[in-house]
C-alpha cells in the first residue's frame, strides 16, 4: 500500500518484484493485459464454459422462483440445507481479499501490493454469490427489502435482536465497503489506463471512471489518508462479518451451534478458505498472463503459510468442539460428537478432517510450498474441506437434535447442485471479465515498491 514506502524490499528472501523493472515496464506489463493483449481462444473457450454455468444458475433460480423452495432438498428438520452452507462458504472466501487488502496493509506487508487487487475483486464476487443464497432461501425473494428498516404501511419494523437482521447489516455493509475500497484503489490505475489507451472510446470509458485523477500531490495526500482509514475500518469490519454469520448459529440452542468458540473459529476458517481461493486463482493467472515477476514464489509461499496458520486455528476449533462435547457432560453435545464420527454423515466428517486438518500439514515442508502444482492441489482440497465443514455444521446438527422423533436426513436435489455450481460459474464469469477489463494488479502500488520511488530529503533544501 501507498503509505509504507519506507519499508525496504526485503533482504535475502526472494524480492516482491523481480529485478530489472522500472516504472514504465510495470505500467506497460499490467496495462497491456487490458489494453492491447488480443483475446485468446483459450479465454473465449473458458468463458463459454463458465458463462454456461452461470446460465445454469439463472435457470435454477428461475425455476425456484416459479415453484418455491420445495424444489430443494430442504425440509423439517433440515430447513437450512445448501443455501446456508453455500452462503457461509462464499462469504468466508471473500474474507481473504479484505484480509490481504486491509489487514496486511496496516501491518505494512508490502508483498500484498501485487495480489490485493484481484483478491479484492474475488471478495466482491464471492460476496455477490453469497448474497444470492439467503435471498433465494427466503421463499419469497421479491419481498427481500422487508429485511431493511423503512417506514411502511404495515407499520412493521425488523426485530433488531435477531442475528438474521444483524446479518443483513453486516453483509450489506461488507459488500459496500469492499466495493468502495476496491474502487478507491482503482482510481489511479484507471488514470494510467486512460492515458495509455489508444482508442478514443476506451480512453473515454477509463477517463470517466478515473474521474479526472491527475496525480496531484494534494490529491495523493488525501488519497493515502482515505485509503489508510478505509483499511483501518475494513479490518474490524471483516472480523465482524463472519462473527455475525457465526451468531446465526451460536445464538441458536441446537447442539453443535450453541458455543462461544464459533466467532473466532468461523473467522479463522473464512481466512483459511479465502487464501485457498486466492492461491487457486493466482497460480493459473500468473502462469497464463506471465506475471511471475510480480506474483513471485514469495507471494505464494506467504499465502501458503497464512493458510497453514489459519488451518491450525481451525484444527484447534475442531479439537475444542470435541473436548467440550466430552467435558461439558451434556448428553446432547456428547451425542453430537458421537454422531459426527459414527452417524450417517460420518464419511463427510472424515473427509472434512482429512481435507482441512491432515492433508494441509504437508505445507510445513518447503517443497510443497514452492511447488505451484502441489500448492494448487492443496488449496483446492482446503476449499472442498471448508465447504464440508459448513455442511457438517448445518446438516449434521439439524439432522439429529434433541428428540429422536424429529430426526431426519437431508438429500440435496439436482436444483441444489445446479444452484451451487451456478454460483461458481457466476464467480468465475466475473473473474474472467475482470482480468481483461481492469488492471488485476495495482500498478501504482507496485511502483512504490521500486527503489526509485524512495525519496530522501536533502539537508540544504529542508532547513
Amino acid at each position: 500500500m501507498a503509505t509504507n514506502t519506507q519499508i525496504p524490499v526485503a533482504d535475502r528472501r526472494v524480492p516482491v518484484i523481480a529485478p530489472g523493472h522500472t516504472f514504465s515496464t510495470i505500467t506497460e506489463k499490467i496495462s497491456n493485459i487490458v489494453l492491447s493483449r488480443p483475446v485468446s481462444l483459450g479465454w473465449i473457450f473458458g468463458f463459454l464454459i463458465v458463462f454456461s454455468m452461470m446460465n445454469m444458475l439463472m435457470m435454477a433460480l428461475g425455476y425456484l422462483f416459479i415453484k418455491g423452495t420445495g424444489i430443494w432438498g430442504i425440509n423439517i428438520p433440515i430447513g437450512w440445507g445448501f443455501a446456508i452452507v453455500n452462503f457461509v462458504w462464499w462469504i468466508g472466501i471473500g474474507h481473504a481479499g479484505t484480509l490481504i487488502s486491509a489487514i496486511l496493509c496496516l501491518l505494512r506487508q508490502t508483498w500484498r501490493n501485487s495480489i490485493n487487487r484481484f483478491a479484492e475483486a474475488m471478495t466482491l464476487f464471492a460476496v455477490a454469490c453469497a448474497g444470492i443464497f439467503p435471498l433465494a432461501h427466503m421463499g419469497r425473494p421479491w419481498l427481500g427489502y422487508w429485511l431493511f428498516p423503512y417506514p411502511n404501511t404495515m407499520n412493521y419494523w425488523p426485530n433488531f435482536r435477531s442475528p438474521l437482521v444483524w446479518d443483513v447489516f453486516a453483509v450489506s455493509t461488507y459488500f459496500t465497503i469492499s466495493l468502495v475500497f476496491w474502487f478507491v484503489g482503482l482510481i489511479p490505475d484507471l488514470a494510467s489506463l486512460r492515458d495509455r489507451a489508444e482508442s478514443p472510446l476506451v480512453q473515454r470509458i477509463y477517463g470517466l471512471l478515473a474521474m479526472g485523477w491527475r496525480g496531484s500531490a494534494r490529491h495523493w495526500h488525501r488519497y493515502e489518508t482515505a485509503y489508510l482509514l478505509l483499511a483501518g475500518l475494513a479490518t474490524p469490519l471483516v472480523l465482524s462479518v463472519h462473527t455475525v454469520v457465526s451468531f446465526d448459529f451460536a445464538v441458536g440452542i441446537v447442539p453443535g451451534w450453541h458455543t462461544t468458540i464459533f466467532p473466532p473459529y468461523f473467522v479463522a476458517g473464512a481466512i483459511y478458505s479465502g487464501f485457498a481461493m486466492v492461491l487457486c486463482l493466482a497460480i493459473p493467472i500468473r502462469a497464463i498472463y506471465g506475471l511471475q515477476d510480480f506474483i513471485t514464489m514469495r507471494h505464494l509461499e506467504n499465502a501458503a503459510k497464512v493458510m497453514l496458520a489459519t488451518g491450525l486455528i481451525v484444527a484447534y476449533g475442531y479439537g475444542m468442539e470435541a473436548f467440550m462435547g466430552w467435558y461439558s457432560g451434556n448428553q446432547f453435545d456428547s451425542f453430537l460428537l458421537w454422531n459426527r464420527f459414527h452417524g450417517p454423515y460420518r464419511l463427510s466428517y472424515m473427509a472434512l478432517l482429512a481435507c482441512n486438518i491432515f492433508i494441509p500439514q504437508v505445507l510445513w515442508l518447503k517443497k510443497f510450498r514452492v511447488s505451484t502444482g502441489w500448492l494448487w492441489l492443496i488449496s483446492f482440497i482446503v476449499l472442498v474441506g471448508m465447504w464440508l465443514e459448513r455442511f457438517i455444521i448445518v446438516i449434521v446438527s439439524l439432522s439429529r437434535d434433541f428428540l429422536t422423533s424429529s430426526w431426519g436426513m437431508y438429500y440435496p436435489t439436482k436444483w441444489d447442485w445446479m444452484t451451487f455450481a451456478g454460483t461458481i460459474g457466476m464467480f468465475l464469469t466475473a473473474m474472467w471479465l475482470f482480468v481483461r477489463i481492469l488492471p488485476m494488479i495495482s500498478i501504482f502500488e507496485l511502483r512504490t515498491l521500486l527503489p526509485e520511488s524512495q525519496v530522501h530529503e536533502a539537508a540544504e533544501v529542508k532547513q
Binding site: T27, F160, V165, A217, T225, S240
Partner: protein, 180 residues
C-alpha cells in the same frame, strides 16, 4: 485557481525522478511561490509538505461520518424497539442494548467508510472532467513514469519570464506553458 484574464494556467516543468521533483518542489516553495502543485505517478512521502500543503480534512470527515452512522443506527433501533414497535422477545427488556451493538457497529463502519471515499473525492474536487494540465501532451506520462511541477499563473509572484528562468534553474527535462 482560475487565471482571470490570462489564457495561461501556469508553467509546467517535467522531471525524471521522484527525488528531483521533491527537491524542485522544496526550492520553488522556498522561493516564495505559494500556488504550486506537483504531480506524480505514485504517492511520494513529503511531497505534499514540500508544496506547502498541510490541511488534510479527510480524517475529520471520517470521524463525523462514523459518529453520524453510529448515533443514527442506535437511535433508530431504540426508537423501533422501545417506542414505535415494542415486541416482547423472550422476555427481554425493550431497551436490550447488547443486541443493538452490532447494527450500531456496522453502520458506524459503513458511514465512516463512505465518508472516507466521498470526502476524499470531494476535497480533491473530483470528479473533474476538464483540467488544464491535461492540455500539455507530455502530461500523459504523469500516470506512468514522469514527474511534474506546475506554478500557477494566479500566484502573486508569477511572472512569465521570471518564473520560466527560475524553473530552468531547477534543471527540468522540459518546461511548457499550460494553456487554460
Amino acid at each position: 485557481m482560475t487565471t482571470g484574464d490570462s489564457p495561461i494556467y501556469g508553467l509546467m516543468a517535467e522531471f525524471d525522478s521522484a527525488q528531483e521533483l521533491v527537491d524542485a518542489a522544496h526550492k520553488t516553495h522556498e522561493a516564495g511561490y505559494q500556488k504550486i502543485d506537483a504531480y506524480s505517478p505514485f504517492p511520494i512521502e513529503g511531497l505534499a509538505e514540500a508544496i506547502g500543503f498541510h490541511k488534510n480534512r479527510v480524517p475529520l470527515a471520517v470521524l463525523i461520518g462514523g459518529l453520524i452512522g453510529g448515533i443514527s443506527a442506535y437511535a433508530l433501533q431504540y426508537w423501533v424497539a422501545v417506542i414505535t414497535y415494542p415486541v416482547n422477545i423472550g422476555g427481554r427488556p425493550f431497551h436490550s442494548w447488547p443486541s443493538f451493538i452490532i447494527v450500531t457497529f456496522e453502520l458506524t463502519i459503513l458511514f465512516a467508510g463512505l465518508s472516507a471515499a466521498i470526502g476524499m473525492l470531494a476535497l480533491n474536487g473530483l470528479p473533474m472532467p476538464y483540467h488544464p494540465v491535461f492540455n500539455v501532451p507530455e502530461f500523459a506520462k504523469a500516470s506512468e513514469n514522469k514527474f511534474f511541477l506546475v506554478v500557477f499563473s494566479s500566484d502573486p509572484k508569477y511572472d512569465a519570464a521570471h518564473t520560466r528562468s527560475f524553473l530552468t534553474g531547477l534543471a527540468p527535462r522540459m518546461i511548457a506553458e499550460v494553456p487554460s
